[in-house]
């Protein structure tokens, strides 16, 4: 029976002592967090592309065969049922597809990878060269337009000359006929 009423064993490992905790640590911060750090779920959806285009049913993804025409139900002579009241809720318009530039916020600096930046600079140079070529072409076109005008003046002059000669010829021929 010694095991039943024996000495109580003291644990060798000391128990942890409690310590006072500041109450403020358990409170929510009173000042709202900055909006920049909070990523709204809408923004996440925009970034992923969900919700930018209203998805149709399976028909937009999988082509389906045309549904077989349903047999017309035989109309029994029943009194017309009153139309159920339908609340007219505004139909939400489908969201327009936004370009990536529009969805980006326009504030702050932009960071572009070096290779993209170099490519952009190259493209700008190409555009400059193309514009110079266009200027050259427009000068050539102006010159050819001037030539066209010159030729047209010559054409008009020759036609007028021809007309005068024909008139004088007509006059001579009719004069001889009248004599």
């Amino acid at each position: 029976m010694g095991w039943l009423f024996g000495k109580k064993k003291v644990p060798k490992v000391p128990l942890p002592e409690g310590h006072l905790v500041d109450d403020r640590a358990l409170r929510f911060p009173s000042s709202p967090t900055s909006r920049e750090r909070v990523i709204e779920p809408e923004k996440v959806k925009e970034a992923v592309g969900i919700g930018s285009k209203p998805m149709m049913k399976e028909e937009s993804i999988f082509p389906t065969a045309a549904p077989a025409p349903m047999p017309k139900p035989k109309m029994s002579k029943m009194p017309p049922m009153p139309r159920p009241m339908v609340s007219r809720r505004p139909v939400p318009e489908p969201m327009m597809e936004r370009s990536p530039m529009e969805s980006m916020s326009m504030e702050g600096p932009l960071f572009v990878k070096v290779d993209v930046y170099q490519r952009v600079l190259g493209e700008i140079d190409q555009v400059k060269e193309d514009l110079q070529q266009l200027g050259h072409l427009s000068r050539e076109l102006e010159a050819s337009g001037f030539n066209n005008e010159d030729n047209f003046t010559k054409l008009k002059r020759s036609v007028k000359n021809m007309h005068d000669k024909l008139l004088s010829m007509d006059k001579v021929l009719f004069k001889s006929q009248g004599d």
Partner: protein
């Protein structure tokens, strides 16, 4: 050693975007003007064709008059 990407900072890129928008507008204007010029050129070509047809008609008639005056027996 892993290659880290290097970025270029563009401070006033809103201005660049605005300029890009303007350039796009000018490009659209230029396209419209070019389409008009094409239309005018087509009209001009049509008029020139009419000119050519009329001149050919006149030439035929002048030929007839010339022949009838120079060789009257052939056209009796």
């Amino acid at each position: 050693m892993e290659r880290m990407p290097v970025f270029v900072k563009i401070d006033e890129y809103e201005e660049v975007l605005s300029l890009l928008k303007t350039v796009r507008g000018k490009l659209d204007d230029a396209k419209g003007t070019l389409a008009k010029i094409h239309e005018l050129k087509n009209e001009e070509d049509h008029h020139l064709e009419m000119w050519q047809n009329s001149l050919e008609e006149v030439e035929k008639k002048v030929d007839f008059i010339d022949h009838s005056l120079n060789e009257p027996e052939r056209y009796q």
